[in-house]
Assembly symmetry: C2
């Protein structure tokens, strides 16, 4: 069957059916009305939107529509993880280019459903349109938990303080290394498999974000634009300097096995699409974070010097020469 | 200055500055962090997303980027109006194609700001990406008010009942007539001006949706996909039939003056992008709705016969032969 035969509303019905338990059928207004509605307690609502556009964020030769569906969920809920918030509901806006087939939409829905099942989130609604190009935008919603005094427990970019250590979860650069393997035609090599999975089926660190909130961490950012770039946001928002010890950034063993060490390190510092978290906190607070879903490694410190800057230090403790940059949605796509 | 020189984060700062009072700077987490956060009371959260893609929903020769910004707000908050909900905050995801210039983004932000000012909503966050094609997706949030028993007051598609009258606000087809004038090169004719404005700067019927809730109306839909198409959603969701008296549908006087009467009526029945509301309710309930921001006209009735169908009746009370259809996001774009 062709998409245009099914029509917009037939397709929406089909997607909702295909989502299975990932469709929020029992909320106040489930998918299918002008808007979705669900009950909320008094508190602080947290919401974010992110987009995956074909040609910019993914290509058909680098990932399947099922992978795109998975990542459309992860990319948004990762932003809630970085706030220390448990995600609850999603709205997904699907823009379907002329070449998208019904099988592609089915596969996308399957990927969404798999990620929803993994993270305990559900689709409350969305939108479907036939458009000149293909992209998916996901809005994710959650509610912040409250401290004893009722204030919301949220992890902020502007809460880094001199004296904090800087830590990162997992092995940054694994996603970019996976993409490099795919592009080099080496995706089938067994050693490449964990990297390819990191690219196609990244994990959102929801549990870590929640654990960080509980441990008293105040400052976290997700590093989907690249470790240095996203630490730069922390440095600017907090008006502090950030020092990163290049040798301390944990590299994926497969990246070290398959890539030149310099290249592996470069991808760890600048590669995007790792949905890991970078955190800053006093040493005792970070120490209270037990390794849960991913190891957390100390990679540097927050300083009062050079506010707004991120400096990468070599093994001698002196700054390495660093071109600025990372994944910039405009510069990378248009530059 | 070029967009790529400014970069993603420079552009976000510029947009937030340009939004002025339309940027929600005083919420718990204002634009600029991984996610936005704001305080909510206990109740029912209502959320919707809609997309305006270049080439599908607008073209540069039919509307300016400022018009697109206006409509990016109206298209989403209209869905909340159709639920009887006052909109509060927006997230805007901007996908900027290669030809988009900084002036275009500025104009878009100005249009967003103007609509936000008009409707008392604010932008809490969003996303910017450089992509192969241009589109804007807006997520709108509100909270349902509660009835005396605490249940949420929401207008649903599935609440039409046999015996209800069917009514519509404003003059459906005005937007489509405006587009026809623009495409015919007649946009500058003074008689065309209200139609062109209806297309480029449509109004969302927030006040009417709220008034309908207060008056006890249960069933409303926005008719942005065309009057008959959207009444079809009501018919199917409510498992009722809907009869529309063709002669009762109010036409804009300028559409009647400028277009063939048959064409004007056809656009009123099927033209999309009127952000008017269609309502069904007992006559006494509809009678309690005073004309506020737009007149409300009775155009038909809900019947128990032919559930799921919409039938258009001629002046003799007999069904007119009607091709099915209206604006379908897939069939119209791809068919």
């Amino acid at each position: 069957m062709a998409l245009e035969d099914l029509g917009e509303f037939g397709l929406i019905d089909r997607i909702v059916a295909r989502l299975g338990d990932a469709a929020a059928r029992d909320i106040t207004v489930p998918p299918g009305d002008d808007a979705a509605a669900w009950a909320v307690d008094a508190g602080v609502a947290v919401a974010t939107v992110d987009t995956l556009a074909e040609g910019t964020h993914w290509r058909r030769d680098t990932m399947s529509f099922a992978d795109v569906g998975w990542r459309a969920v992860v990319t948004s809920i990762s932003d809630l993880a970085a706030m220390g918030v448990e995600p609850g509901f999603l709205l997904i806006s699907a823009e379907l280019g002329p070449s998208v087939q019904l099988d592609d939409v089915d596969a996308f829905a399957d990927g969404v459903a798999a990620a929803c099942d993994c993270y305990g989130v559900r689709v409350a609604g969305g939108n479907v349109a036939g458009t000149p190009a293909t992209s998916f935008s996901t809005t994710a919603f959650g509610t912040a938990t409250a401290a004893g005094d009722g204030s919301p427990l949220l992890l902020r970019r502007d809460a880094a303080r001199p004296g904090d250590l800087v830590a990162v979860s997992g092995t940054p650069g694994a996603s970019a290394a996976g993409l490099a393997m795919i592009e080099a035609g080496r995706a089938e090599e067994s050693e490449a498999e964990p990297l390819v999975t990191a690219h196609r089926r990244p994990q959102a660190r929801i549990g870590l974000g929640r654990a960080a909130v509980e441990a008293g961490v105040k400052c976290t950012v997700d590093i989907s634009d690249g470790l240095l770039q996203d630490l730069g946001h922390v440095a600017r928002a907090s008006r502090v300097g950030v020092e990163v010890d290049a040798g301390a950034v944990p590299l994926h063993p497969s990246a070290l096995a398959l890539l030149d060490p310099e290249r592996a390190r470069e991808l760890a510092l600048r590669g995007g699409e790792d949905y890991e978290l970078a955190l800053t906190a006093p040493a005792a607070t970070l120490g209270a974070l037990t390794d849960g879903e991913a190891p957390v490694t100390t990679i540097g410190r927050v300083v009062a010097e050079y506010p707004g800057e991120v400096v990468v230090l070599g093994s001698d403790g002196r700054p390495l020469e660093q071109p600025s940059g990372g994944w910039d949605q405009l510069r990378t796509a248009r530059g």
